[in-house]
């Protein structure tokens, strides 16, 4: 279980997240909804432990720090890839897996996300939608129990969205817990168990 207690994040005088507490049970999929600038990405970054909160704490299965991070895979909203490398090279470079397991996982994700046609292309030569798929795949190249996704479908076409939805469904069936943020709740609604809303940094059920 991921548990967040009283998370606060301020940027100068502006409070992005104000006293947010939530929990994510094992196997659960939660949608985090909110308008632009509501604090979704900030909250998710703190849950993923890539952004340090000003106050509050996050625990994963009762663990903190490095051990907790190893259980969480995070898909950021921005495209965070090595632009000069190909899709496959990015998958191998970012993977925490080793040897044969690494190759098999990469091939699996390439197939699931239908990236076979461009897997040997440099990332900086891909379209926005293609890059977003690679961005997702890179995060999934490892061992994790919890998956945090920040607008995974932004800029993706309908078919791409279906591929991603299908992949996330498979992950859920494997027992992976997820929090995902989205503008449009309808697309990933079939996947979610419950939703939370955040507006101006305040979290509501």
């Amino acid at each position: 279980m991921i548990e967040a207690k009283c998370l606060v994040k301020r940027y100068g005088s502006y409070t992005a997240v104000d006293d947010a507490s939530l929990s994510l049970e094992k196997g659960e999929v939660v949608a985090l909804l909110g308008s632009n600038g509501s604090g979704k990405s900030t909250l998710l970054s703190m849950l993923a432990m890539v952004l340090k909160p000003d106050s509050g704490e996050v625990t994963v299965d009762g663990l903190k720090g490095k051990q907790a991070k190893e259980k969480v895979a995070y898909v950021p909203q921005e495209i965070v890839l090595f632009e000069e490398l190909t899709v496959m090279e990015n998958l191998y470079a970012w993977s925490s897996l080793k040897g044969k397991e690494n190759t098999e996982r990469a091939d699996y994700l390439v197939n699931e996300l239908e990236m076979t046609d461009f897997k040997r292309k440099r990332v900086d030569r891909l379209s926005g939608g293609q890059r977003r798929r690679v961005n997702l795949a890179v995060a999934l190249m490892g061992k994790y129990d919890y998956l945090l996704l920040d607008e995974p479908l932004a800029g993706i076409d309908a078919h791409g969205g279906e591929c991603i939805e299908h992949l996330l469904k498979k992950e859920k069936e494997k027992g992976c817990s997820m929090i995902l943020t989205e503008h449009n709740p309808t697309i990933l609604l079939p996947l979610t168990d419950r939703s939370l809303r955040i507006e101006r940094g305040h979290l509501t059920v």
Partner: protein, 402 residues
């Protein structure tokens, strides 16, 4: 994944970012060409006659004639000069003005007797502005040695004074004078042997060339590290701060960056070094002694670039910092590294400066290897590499999403 693959990927990233890395690698070429353009006369030294001269000796003494023969024969034997005797001063000056000869030396009449009588005798060295570089180099060497010769004549005068006081005959006095001047000529002709070298003058005249070329190499190598600074800064602010990476993996990325950066800097050295060997015929064993210095310098500059890149959130800021730091380092090495009448803190900083150590290895290692200095400089480079790497990794960890 094989750690070696990380290095390959990082090299691909470094060279894959447009033309920046290639510009960095090739940027020494125009700089060296410009440098060579200014030093073309030195480049052609020893390759045959490089200037001609006229001479007019109006003094009829044997001693002055012998002295001139010593100087001229030496230069002619080296193949640096062809000499044309002229009968009138105006002829010699005209030949220079018309560009037929580069220099004209005029020895006035009574040069020998004037100096015998304690009166200053001055020879003229007339030269063409278009050949000023060669002419003035030759002039500088000959002036200092003839000056000492001329001061030595005072000693002979003192000896003659003593002989006169003792009431010796005139022939005896002249004999003492002639033998004294002969002694001075003998000393003059063997000047170089005093330090175990052949030649009469111009020893060490190219030290500033050695220093300049070494400083040039080190500066170009430093500039080659700019893409490393930029990419590191971008990596930390845009990639590693947004993805959680275990410390071990972060260390692998860090080491891969330092190695790939060192390879980039080494590539620029590989372009510069053969050019240097062409510019100056450096002995191969000396040249080889510089190679460890080149490798270590590459690592030092790479780790420094990673450190600077880690310090700044924006790639542009990292580059500015690199530019100012580099300029300050180069300026201080150029003007301060050999001085001791500077504040102790500054002198200490110069001693441990990796840029100074690199310049010292190149300039001394290529021409004049002193093992103790070489060892000290290598130690400075190694120590700064360790310090920069440690500090760089600490910042790397701090700025990544750990």
């Amino acid at each position: 994944m094989n750690p070696f693959m990380f290095i390959l990927y990082d090299i691909k990233r470094l060279f894959g970012r447009g033309k920046t890395a290639f510009i960095a690698m090739l940027s020494p070429i125009p700089v060296i060409l410009m440098f060579a353009m200014f030093l073309a006369p030195i480049l052609t030294q020893g390759n045959g006659v490089f200037f001609s001269g006229a001479i007019l000796n109006e003094d009829d003494s044997e001693s002055v004639d012998q002295l001139m023969n010593i100087i001229i024969n030496y230069e002619v034997k080296k193949g640096n000069v062809t000499v044309y005797p002229v009968k009138e001063k105006e002829t010699g000056e005209r030949m220079v003005d018309e560009g037929k000869v580069a220099v004209f030396m005029h020895i006035p009449p009574d040069t020998y007797t004037d100096s015998m009588n304690g009166k200053r005798a001055v020879m003229e060295f007339y030269y063409a502005p278009s050949r000023a570089f060669d002419a003035l180099t030759f002039y500088t060497g000959i002036k200092s040695s003839i000056s000492v010769f001329g001061q030595g004549i005072r000693l002979v005068n003192i000896a003659v004074g003593i002989a006169e006081k003792l009431g010796l005959r005139e022939e005896e006095i002249f004999r003492i004078w002639d033998e004294g001047v002969l002694d001075l000529q003998n000393v003059f002709i063997h000047r170089g042997r005093v330090i175990g070298k052949n030649g009469i003058f111009l020893f060490g005249a190219d030290y500033h060339f050695r220093f300049a070329i070494a400083l040039l190499f080190a500066t170009c190598a430093y500039m080659s590290s700019f893409p490393i600074m930029y990419l590191t800064s971008l990596d930390l602010s845009e990639i590693f701060s947004k993805r959680s990476i275990p410390t071990k993996r972060l260390a692998v990325y860090f080491i891969a960056r330092i190695i790939s950066g060192a390879i980039l800097i080494l590539s620029s050295f590989l372009i510069m070094f053969p050019v240097a060997r062409l510019l100056r015929q450096i002995q191969l064993d000396f040249a080889l002694s510089v190679i460890p210095g080149i490798i270590l310098t590459s690592f030092v500059f790479s780790s420094l670039a990673v450190l600077l890149g880690s310090m700044f959130k924006r790639g542009q800021s990292a580059l500015w910092a690199g530019l100012y730091f580099g300029t300050a380092s180069v300026a201080s090495v150029a003007f301060l590294s050999d001085k001791t009448d500077i504040p102790e803190a500054l002198a200490c900083l110069m001693r441990i400066s990796p840029l100074r150590a690199s310049v010292s290895i190149f300039s001394n290692g290529m021409f004049n290897l002193m093992i103790e200095r070489y060892a000290f400089d290598m130690f400075v480079l190694f120590s700064t590499f360790v310090i920069f790497s440690a500090a760089g990794f600490a910042l790397y960890r701090k700025r990544s999403a750990l």
